[in-house]
């Protein structure tokens, strides 16, 4: 069976001189990409790094990250993508938790993290993007541009990497601050890549924008599906993601055909990407995932890229992609976009959990009823890195099949199999006794005129909130019309879901992977009154609208 270890060599054999990787300052053909990765692999071997060792790759985004990652995979080392922007404490704890044997980072980042000084880490090599004065540190170009013939010969003699070998670990910071590492094997990654190539009909004619941070599982498209289909990746730097007009300019100039990223970014692209001045005729497919896309905003995107098919992709990093939905005109007429139908080979359950301890406490709910989504698929992770406690909570063994992963996502399934995301189990709150999904409130708010981003905050005790407040970012120059916004919500939400208070802020925090950091916002506003504009006004007088809404 093919593994990630041979992807580049296979592509280079068929299409040696075709463009493979367009970096910010350097371009690679498949042969060059393959050779550079082999040189990195030879360097790692010579340094004593081998099969099963963890290697952190945390360069700021450019072609060199791709080369380094494929170099690690070739020798069966386990890639640990490291967020180049994360706080130093968090990055050091990932290096420690993963117990890495090698680190690839920018020189500036290296000074900040000082990996050699981390207690208990048996580091065998450190490679920086820029040359360093530290003799223990190698410069990336020296490593990737040439290798000693003996080291390359040793590489040739390595036994092949096995499909069940771990290939990469995606670390996310858990809610308690302890990191969680999601372990994927060559087999689970290849299962994703093969399905992505097939279902998106990726061919060597495609050029994929490499937009995703590499510590985010969306990057498996550009890292693994792209070489399997032999389509080129046009690397998009972190800076392009802050300048949508630069991103669209690069897309135009490099004739990019596929985008895949989060709605928060695509909203910036439609608002500030200067799309009316760009020729994006090569763009045929725009995929989004990671968070819901408000229908109104999605319609703006659809109008802005009329030649492209838009597809909603769903799947937690633990299972990678598992369902998808192609956006149609009918989708844009609805209130909500489904996460769609499962890929072939993916089994789903929608489960309710009854009281008790036995496995019989899990019962499948009827179509149309909300329940937790369980996924069993060849793309499922093997487990969390050295966290049997989390494995026991998240994975349910399934005799003769891939284990069930309990997503923690609440969904509803239609009789035709279409799945609708309803929220996170842990975002479900009770407001005056009624179960409410905060995401549902946010989806309505972001559909309202002038609202760009919204976070719903339960006010009061977390288990039993008194009401919901909303923190919103408005379109430039817009002012808050509280009555209109409340009326908009009242016509679309159950009464308990209509925010009682609104707070306008200039900006909201985003996570390292570009998604709105809702948890952070909720925690920030949990203990403080969001505003006093409505909640303390007596029922008589101008605020009587509030009393009316109670009875609505």
């Amino acid at each position: 069976m093919t593994t990630l270890a041979t992807l580049l060599a296979d592509a280079a054999r068929v299409d040696p001189d075709t463009e493979a990787l367009v970096g910010l300052s350097r371009r690679y053909t498949w042969r060059e990409y393959d050779r550079a990765a082999a040189n990195v692999a030879a360097h790692l071997l010579a340094a004593g790094v081998g099969r099963g060792d963890r290697v952190a790759v945390g360069f700021s985004k450019d072609a060199r990250s791709f080369v380094a990652i494929h170099g690690c995979l070739r020798i069966g080392a386990i890639v640990v993508p490291l967020d180049p922007m994360s706080p130093p404490m968090a990055a050091r704890s990932v290096l420690t938790d993963a117990d890495v044997a090698a680190v690839f980072v920018d020189a500036r980042r290296c000074e900040q993290l000082d990996p050699w000084s981390i207690d208990g880490l048996a580091l065998r090599t450190l490679v920086t993007a820029q040359p360093s004065t530290d003799p223990r540190t190698a410069a990336f170009d020296d490593v990737a541009d040439r290798a000693h013939p003996d080291a390359l010969a040793a590489l040739e003699r390595l036994p092949p990497v096995a499909a069940d070998d771990p290939a990469y670990i995606i670390f996310t910071s858990g809610s308690t601050g302890r990191s969680k590492g999601i372990v994927h094997t060559h087999a689970s990654a290849m299962a994703y890549a093969a399905r992505a190539v097939e279902s998106r009909r990726l061919t060597p004619a495609d050029r994929i924008a490499g937009m995703s941070p590499l510590h985010f599982d969306m990057s498996t498209l550009e890292l693994y599906a792209a070489p399997l289909a032999r389509c080129a990746v046009v690397v998009v730097g972190e800076a392009h993601l802050r300048f949508p007009a630069s991103f669209t300019s690069r897309s135009q100039d490099e004739r990019v055909s596929v985008w895949y990223f989060v709605p928060s970014f695509f909203r910036l692209v439609t608002e500030r990407g200067a799309l009316d001045q760009r020729d994006l005729s090569a763009l045929r497919l725009v995929m989004y995932g990671g968070e819901p896309y408000a229908v109104g905003a999605l319609a703006e995107l659809a109008a802005a890229v009329p030649n492209a098919v838009i597809e909603n992709i769903y799947g937690p990093a633990e299972v990678n992609e598992c369902t998808s939905h192609v956006v149609t005109p009918a989708t844009l007429q609805g209130d909500d976009v489904p996460v769609g139908l499962p890929w072939h080979g993916v089994d789903l359950r929608v489960v309710d959990e009854l009281d008790g301890d036995g496995d019989d406490r899990f019962v499948d709910v009827a179509d149309g009823e909300p329940g937790e989504l369980w996924v069993s698929a060849p793309t499922v992770m093997t487990g969390y890195w050295r966290r049997p406690d989390l494995d026991a909570r998240s994975l349910v063994l399934r005799p003769g099949g891939f284990p069930w992963y309990r997503t923690g996502d609440v969904v509803v399934r239609d009789p035709d199999g279409t799945v609708w995301f309803r929220g996170r189990r842990d975002h479900q709150v009770k407001v005056r006794g009624i179960r409410l999904e905060l995401e549902a409130v946010e989806a309505v708010l972001t559909d309202a005129p002038d609202v760009v981003h919204a976070v719903a905050v339960p006010v009061g005790d977390a288990g039993e909130a008194a009401h919901v407040a909303a923190v919103v970012v408005l379109r430039d120059g817009a002012a808050l019309d509280e009555a209109a916004l409340r009326a908009f919500c009242t016509s679309r939400l159950p009464a308990v879901g209509v925010p009682k208070e609104f707070r306008v802020v200039d900006r909201l925090p985003f996570t390292a992977t570009g998604k709105l950091d809702r948890r952070h916002v909720r925690e920030h506003f949990a203990d403080t009154p969001v505003s006093t504009s409505a909640s303390t006004t007596p029922a008589a007088g101008p605020a009587s609208a509030e009393a009316m809404e109670e009875t609505a």
Partner: protein
Amino acid sequence: MTERPTGFDTDLVEMITREVSLDPSIVIEPDTDLLLTGLVDSLGVVEIVGWIEDRLGLSVDPADVVLEHFQTVRLMLDYLDRRLAG
């Protein structure tokens, strides 16, 4: 031809440091790469553009809000000087 008001450049640096920078302890020089260092995120860029538009009474075309014009304070000033001269 119009010129930048006196003190515009120091006000710009102060505004970025105080209101936009994700790490106000970092001293912003004319050639500090605001993006590489992660000092400014996408919303920060929007704030900077809005502030410039208010201060100079001009409107910046979204197509001009690109890396080449906003990566450093010096690039911003060069771009604005060209705009004001045009």
